[in-house]
Symmetry: C2
Subunit: 460 residues, 2 copies
């Protein structure tokens, strides 16, 4: 008999502790349909239950894996048969929107899309948006400091968290659910938990900062022949469009071809795939005035030179057609047996030489694999897709090749996806030994038995 | 003979270690002209010297007080005769502005104003600005997470720090000088040091995020009769003016009267002091378009009702006249023997009842003291001035009275000034025992001998 599990049943209630088939009938994640592994899956109904569960696991030195919406792509919630899992799926309460403060307090299990709908009903918007909006939870987004397509304007998840309630490994509840923009009262505890991937505490509730919902949106696709034209273009657009600029997304030629070619659902917009395409979007409150500013600004940047072509979306259908190229993934699925995906930050002037070095190294290996580059150019964040026609290519080899070059160009091995299990081996390419030691010291201070999501980010 | 001091002299060089008269000829701070107290004042020239000094002090269990520009107003750099002091005044180097990234890397001893001038020469601006700009240093601003008059738009100092180099108590250098907007590679170490008031490490260098310098500015002063009109006004302005709104500053009637009355240098703008005045400012890139938007928006809010009067600044002189009322401090100096100053955050709907409760309590005490309220209304941050006509009033009593009411209204006892020594007794009004224990655990992990700025924020 398993005494910890029965103690947990007593503390949380029988129906909050799933084991055996009830646990194994769930998938491991959105990406991995195999049966979930673990000793038990806890489904607490409130913060007190999370606290009780962690206290018992802490006393029993029981490893605990916090689950979010299952869409993490760094394998940050991988579990084994000896782990206890906690999902906050029953904690999805959303408080009333506070219009005066432009805030909302939510439980961590609330899916992003539900919170977005709630904010929209009050005329406001959640500043972070992701493709996984229907599945990902606020708690998971906070644990991973999620990014998305509008970081340029609104920042990452860290920037929208005004207050946070988290439970430490020993069950201590830190209630910091304050709605203040400014609160210099000692260490800003919430900052420790944002982006810590569930290794320092379990986020149970948060106060989110909302923004006025946009009433107008203007989009354009620009073609650029010379990469050197992109930095001045961004600078000019930032200065001219001020706070309205939400997206400055880039697509390298082969990515554009892939996602507007024969295997794609999207159609090409330019006659020929330009060396670089930039998807530009602004959001504002005044369709007419914003539209005039947008057209005038594009006319100015056209005059300034550096653009080979430019198309302004004249309708929502036009706009969606532009985003379809940027967000398409059908072609890579059809064309390749397997892909390796990367999420890196690079300085603007390192982007071209670094990606070219990666392309050359891949070509030399003659793997018959392709490199496609796209991403949040305005944030310095590129996504790389290495598509393998042959399924047997060794991923570890490809990853080493890519990350080594990212490190040579002083890039970051993870811009927005986090480290999890998958990038742990490459963390030392972006962080010094001293930095990783400091992370360990904090982990040790807040989770002395190392029960929370052990083995993720770094080993103790 | 003092062996630590001679070891420090050997390590840093004789001219980098001031003792005796050389130390005592300096003032304690901008506010306290008495001779500085300490065993030695270290003036390192680079990060390696800071590291060497801290390693030696750590081994000797020597308390170390980091000094910035001396303008802190929470007594966060108070020292005693047994303390070693470190000033980074010789580390004021400023790197070239990176236009593509809109960043600059600076040494922590650089004064804000120097960095502002450097950024301006490249057409950019430092997003945080304070009255103390000529004296305060980037390192001090980071240690205190300084705010200012444009937080509404640009955030606090935390938000402009992209990368950070800091030295831990034992001399370990954490070099995180990355320029990336997005960098999810393990714990975001820089967040620990921002706002930690020199208790977790000494900041030596930082990468700052710059913004396009504004090319236009529009200002107005609004009069409001009913406090309940202010929240919808702010909401409407935020939605309408989007990213352009930089300031939404509030002045309660008595503050406006004080600073535009017989003892003030500023002149009144309205015929009679309104119950509340709001100073509104936008910054943009297009004087004509922004001006039209500003006037149109003010016309709209006027139509919507709630405003008693509104004056748009027609010239820079008009604008300065409005800010002179908001920023004046001559009258309080002339009128009062002494003042107690507060820096609190409150939810919008708590501002009126809480400040009225404070006013009533003060009146009941019959101290013949006045309460004046103003501040960064758009940030939820009020400053309170209690002016005492009689110099012998007990400050501790007044502070308890004010902070108790702030706590009753769930406010924060420090919005932007920090805790230092002066507010340590009141920290438990804003932070739970569990939160303060968590702060202690982190402090213990990063500074096991407790040498860095001991006794500030909390006691170990």
């Amino acid at each position: 008999m398993d005494s910890l599990i029965s103690t947990l049943r007593t503390a949380l209630g029988d129906d909050s502790v799933l084991t055996g088939e009830r646990l194994a009938e769930r998938a491991r994640s959105f990406w991995d349909p195999r049966p979930l592994e673990g000793r038990a899956l806890l489904l607490p109904r409130d913060t007190a239950a999370v606290s009780a569960a962690l206290r018992l696991c802490h006393e029993a030195r029981q490893p605990v894996i916090p689950l979010g919406g299952g869409t993490n792509i760094a394998n940050a919630t991988a579990s084994g048969e000896n782990d206890v899992l906690i999902s906050l799926e029953r904690m999805r309460g959303i408080g009333p929107v506070d219009l005066a403060q432009q805030t909302v307090t939510v439980e961590a299990g609330a899916p992003l899309e539900t919170v977005q709908e709630h904010a929209a009903a009050a005329g406001l918007k959640v500043p972070v948006d992701l493709g996984a909006r229907g599945s990902c939870t606020i708690g998971g987004m906070i644990a991973c400091n999620a990014g998305g397509n509008q970081v340029l304007r609104y920042g990452m998840t860290r920037d929208m968290v005004l207050g946070l309630e988290a439970v430490l490994a020993d069950g201590t509840v830190l209630n910091g659910l304050t709605p203040y923009l400014k609160n210099n009262t000692g260490y800003d505890l919430k900052q420790w938990f944002v982006g810590s991937e569930g290794t320092l505490g379990i986020v149970t509730r948060a106060v989110l900062h909302l923004y006025p919902a946009p009433r107008s949106r203007h989009t354009a696709l620009l073609a650029v022949d010379d990469f050197a034209a992109i930095a001045p273009l961004l600078l000019r657009l930032r200065a001219r469009l001020g706070g309205l600029l939400t997206s400055f997304e880039g697509m390298w030629q082969s990515f554009y071809e892939l996602n507007s070619g024969e295997h794609a659902t999207a159609l090409p917009i330019f006659d020929a795939a330009p060396p670089w395409s930039v998807l530009l979007e602004i959001e504002g409150q005044d369709a007419e005035a914003d539209g005039a500013l947008f057209e005038q600004t594009l006319a100015e940047v056209w005059e300034a030179g550096g653009l080979a072509d430019a198309v302004i979306a004249g309708s929502e259908a036009d706009r969606l057609a532009m985003w379809a190229i940027r967000e398409g993934c059908e072609a890579e699925t059809k064309l390749y047996a397997r892909t390796d995906q990367f999420d890196i930050s690079l300085a603007m002037d390192a982007m071209l030489p670094c990606t070219e070095a990666i392309r050359s190294a891949l070509t030399e290996l003659a793997l018959d694999s392709d490199l496609h580059v796209f991403g949040h150019l305005g944030d310095g964040n590129l996504h790389l897709v290495v598509g393998h026609r042959r399924g047997e290519i060794d991923s570890a080899h490809v990853k080493q090749l890519v990350y080594q070059r990212v490190a040579e160009w002083r890039g970051s091995v993870s811009a927005e996806h986090g480290i999890g299990l998958d990038k742990k081996a490459y963390l030392p390419l972006s962080r010094s030994t001293a930095e990783i030691q400091a992370m360990r010291a904090i982990k040790q201070a807040l989770d002395p038995h190392g029960i929370l999501n052990p083995g993720k980010i770094f080993d103790l």
